[in-house]
C-alpha cells in the first residue's frame, strides 16, 4: 500500500494476546500482512502472533562464506606448497591428514565471519513495509506497525483501542543509526 497512513499500536508486555488479536482484526479489515510489522523487545515467533514466516539470506551467506574459507584454506595448504615448497622429513609435500586442521579452521572462520557480515548487510539495507519505532518497545511494549487506507484510519484506530492499544500518531524512525 503506497499511500496509506502509518500508525503504531502499542501494547504492554502483558497484552500479548491482545496484540495477536489486533493482527487478526487488521486482517479482517483488509490490511495485508505486507502492510503489518510487529516490533518487540524480545523474540516472538511468527506462530505466536499468527504472522507469515520471515525469510533471511543469512544461512546462504554463511554457506558461501564457508565455501570461500575452504577454497582459501585449500590454496594455502596445497597451492602454496607448489609456489613455496617446504620439505619436511618423512612427510609428503601435500599430505591430506595434516591439512585437515587448516581446512577445518579456515572454513569455519569463513562461515562465522560471513554470518556476521550477512547480519550487518541485512540490517543496514533498506527494508520494505512500514517503518517506525518507539523507544517504549525496548521497555517491553509490543508494537503493531501498520499502514491502513486513509479512509479506514479512524475505524482501525477505534478497533485497536478497544483492545487496550495506545496508538502512536507519527511513529517515524528517529536517527537510530548514523
Amino acid at each position: 500500500m503506497a499511500n496509506g497512513t502509518v500508525r503504531l499500536a502499542l501494547f504492554r508486555e502483558d497484552q500479548l494476546n491482545q496484540a495477536a488479536e489486533a493482527i487478526t482484526r487488521l486482517h479482517e479489515m483488509g490490511i495485508e500482512d505486507e502492510d503489518i510489522s510487529v516490533i518487540s523487545g524480545m523474540a516472538l515467533s511468527e506462530r505466536i502472533l499468527g504472522r507469515p514466516m520471515s525469510w533471511s539470506h543469512v544461512p546462504l551467506i554463511a554457506i558461501a562464506g564457508a565455501v570461500a574459507g575452504f577454497l582459501i584454506a585449500f590454496f594455502l595448504v596445497f597451492g602454496t606448497q607448489y609456489l613455496y615448497p617446504i620439505r619436511v622429513g618423512a612427510m609428503p609435500n601435500t599430505p591430506v591428514p595434516t591439512s585437515l586442521v587448516v581446512l577445518f579452521e579456515i572454513t569455519m572462520l569463513g562461515m562465522l565471519v560471513s554470518t556476521l557480515l550477512g547480519v550487518i548487510a541485512e540490517m543496514l539495507t533498506p527494508s520494505y513495509g512500514p517503518a517506525g519505532y518507539d523507544p517504549r518497545i525496548s521497555h517491553g511494549h509490543i508494537g503493531v506497525l501498520y499502514t491502513s487506507p486513509t479512509n479506514l484510519d479512524n475505524q482501525v484506530r477505534s478497533r485497536l483501542s478497544e483492545l487496550g492499544a495506545v496508538i502512536v500518531e507519527r511513529p517515524e524512525v528517529k536517527k537510530l543509526w548514523p
Binding site: 508486555e13 543469512v58 554470518t115 556476521l116 521497555h139 537510530l176
Partner: protein, 480 residues
C-alpha cells in the same frame, strides 16, 4: 533512582510455597521489562570510588608488570627469563595453555547450554562469553612474549617476501595460531550478536557519547520480526558451529605437545584430556566471575541467584570427575607401559623438588571438589563456591605447570636433566596478564549490559507454575 521490585500484573503470589519458588528461580520471578532495563542500566552506569581505585590499580599493574617488564625482556633478551636447557617452555607456555583453557567455558556455557536449552544459563551467558574473549586476548599475548624478538613477528605471516620465509602449514604451531585466531574472532562475534538488542535498549536509555556509541553498535535495531528472525538464525548457526571450533582449539593446543616425541607428551589422550581440563577451569572461572559481579554490581543479586551457583557447582563436580578419569587413564597406562623415560618423569612429578605442585594439582582438582560439591548447601553458598573454584583454578594452573616445565626437565637423556625455576620477569608478566584480564573485564562491565535482558524476559515468558495434584511445579513452554 534505584529500581524497586514490582511483580508483573497477574502474577499474584498465592502461598508460601509459591513465594519460595519465586525466590529460588529467577525465571519464576518476573519483573516488568522496564524495571529490568533500569536495573541493568544502573548496574552499568553507577560506579563507586572503589571501582575507580580498583581499575586504576589494575591499569598500573598492567602497565608496569606486563608491558614494562615485557619491554625490559625484549630489550635485554630472553636470558632474563628462567627458560634454558633443558626447559625451553616454561611458565609462559603454561599460562598460555591456562588462559586458552579458561576461554573455553564462555562458549561451553553459552553455546552448549543454549543448544540444549538449559534455562539456568539465561542471566549469565554474557558474563561467560566476555570471559572467553578476554581470556583469549590474555592468552594470545604469550606466543608473542615467548617469541623474544617480538618485532619480527610478521615473519610468520604467509605473504610472498624477499626473505624466502613461508609458514609450514603442516606444523602444529601454525595450526595453533589459526585455531586461536578463528576462536578469538568467532567468540567475539558470538559475544556481539546477542548483545545487539541490549545495545539498542542502552541506546534508548542513554544520552551523549554513550548513546552515540550504542547507536553505531546497535546497527539501527528496532526489534522487527525480520530482525529477530535474522538474529535467531545467526545465533543458532553460531551456537552449533562454534562448538566444534571450541573443541578444536584446545585439542590443537594439546597437539603442540602431543605431536612431539617427548616422554609423557606423545599421547593420544592429550586432546580430550586438555578439553576436559579446559572446561573444568573455565566453568570454575565463570563461577568466580559471577561471584564478583554479584558482590560488586548493583541489582545482580536479582539476576544471579543461588540456583545459578548450584547448577554450575554440579557441572564443576562432573567435570572434576571427568578430568580425574582422563588423568588416571594417562597416568596408569603410562606407568603400566614401563617405558623407562616416562616412568622417570612420573617419579619426578611425585617425588622431585617440584612434587608439591603435583600434589597441589591432585588436591585442588580432585579432593576439594569431591569433598565439597556433592553438598547442595555448599553449592548454593556463593562465597564458598568462589573459594572452591579459585582452588580448582590453582589446581589447573599446577596441572599445566606439571605437564610443561616439570616434564621437560626430565627427559630421555639423564645428563641433560634440569630444574626450571621461573625468574621475576616471568612471574611479573604472568601477574600482569591476570591484571590485564581483570582490567578489561572490569572496564567492559561499565560499557555493555552484563545481563541479556531480552533473554531473561524470554525465559520469564516461557516459565510458569503449573498445578499438578496438590502442588504447583515450574513448567517450561517451548516458545520457538
Amino acid at each position: 533512582m534505584a529500581a524497586e521490585a514490582k511483580p508483573l500484573p497477574g502474577s499474584v503470589v498465592r502461598g508460601a510455597e509459591e513465594e519460595d519458588l519465586r525466590a529460588e528461580h529467577l525465571m519464576l520471578d518476573p519483573r516488568p521489562r522496564e524495571e529490568m532495563n533500569q536495573m541493568v542500566m544502573e548496574a552499568m552506569t553507577k560506579t563507586t570510588p572503589a571501582f575507580w581505585i580498583a581499575i586504576s590499580v589494575l591499569g598500573l599493574v598492567v602497565l608496569v608488570c606486563l608491558f614494562g617488564v615485557w619491554i625490559y625482556q625484549a630489550l635485554t633478551g630472553m636470558g632474563v627469563a628462567g627458560v634454558r636447557r633443558p626447559v625451553f617452555w616454561g611458565i609462559y607456555i603454561a599460562t598460555f595453555v591456562f588462559w586458552i583453557g579458561i576461554s573455553h567455558a564462555g562458549t561451553f556455557v553459552s553455546a552448549i547450554l543454549r543448544v540444549f536449552k538449559a534455562e539456568f544459563r539465561r542471566p549469565f551467558t554474557r558474563a561467560a562469553e566476555l570471559m572467553t574473549t578476554f581470556g583469549l586476548a590474555a592468552g594470545a599475548l604469550y606466543p608473542l612474549i615467548h617469541l623474544g624478538r617480538v618485532w619480527v613477528f610478521y615473519w610468520m605471516v604467509p605473504y610472498p617476501n624477499s626473505r624466502w620465509l613461508w609458514p609450514n602449514f603442516r606444523s602444529a604451531l601454525v595450526w595453533d595460531f589459526l585455531a586461536i585466531t578463528t576462536y578469538l574472532i568467532s567468540s567475539t562475534i558470538y559475544l556481539y550478536l546477542p548483545l545487539i538488542p541490549d545495545l539498542a535498549m542502552a541506546r534508548d536509555h542513554s544520552t551523549g557519547l554513550r548513546q552515540r556509541i550504542y547507536r553505531i553498535l546497535a546497527l539501527g535495531w528496532r526489534g522487527t520480526e525480520a530482525e529477530w528472525f535474522r538474529l535467531r538464525t545467526a545465533i543458532t548457526i553460531f551456537a552449533f558451529a562454534i562448538i566444534p571450533v571450541m573443541f578444536s582449539v584446545h585439542t590443537i593446543v594439546s597437539w603442540d605437545f602431543a605431536v612431539g616425541v617427548v616422554a609423557m607428551w606423545h599421547s593420544t589422550i592429550f586432546g580430550p584430556y586438555f578439553i576436559i581440563g579446559a572446561i573444568l577451569s573455565g566453568v570454575s572461572a565463570v563461577v568466580m566471575i559471577l561471584f564478583v559481579l554479584r558482590a560488586t554490581m548493583l541489582h545482580m543479586k536479582y539476576f544471579l541467584r543461588p540456583e545459578v551457583f548450584d547448577s554450575l557447582g554440579k557441572l564443576v563436580l562432573i567435570f572434576s570427575m571427568a578430568w580425574t578419569y582422563f588423568f588416571i587413564n594417562d597416568y596408569l597406562l603410562t606407568y603400566y607401559g614401563g617405558d623407562a623415560a616416562e616412568r622417570q618423569v612420573l617419579l619426578e612429578h611425585a617425588t622431585g623438588p617440584g612434587a608439591w605442585v603435583w600434589y597441589l594439582m591432585l588436591i585442588c582438582n580432585i579432593v576439594i571438589p569431591w569433598l565439597t560439591l556433592w553438598n547442595r548447601r555448599i553449592r548454593r553458598t556463593p562465597w564458598m563456591m568462589f573459594i572452591i573454584t579459585t582452588l580448582i583454578n590453582v589446581g589447573m594452573f599446577a596441572e599445566r605447570y606439571t605437564i610443561i616445565p616439570m616434564t621437560l626437565g626430565h627427559q630421555r637423556i639423564p645428563f641433560d636433566w634440569g630444574t626450571y625455576v621461573p625468574r621475576w620477569p616471568e612471574i611479573s608478566i604472568v601477574l600482569g596478564t591476570f591484571a590485564l584480564f581483570m582490567f578489561l573485564y572490569l572496564a567492559m562491565t561499565r560499557l555493555i549490559p552484563m545481563v541479556p535482558v531480552w533473554e531473561v524476559q524470554e525465559g520469564h515468558m516461557a516459565h510458569q507454575l503449573r498445578k499438578v495434584g496438590q502442588t504447583e511445579i515450574p513448567s517450561i513452554t517451548e516458545l520457538e
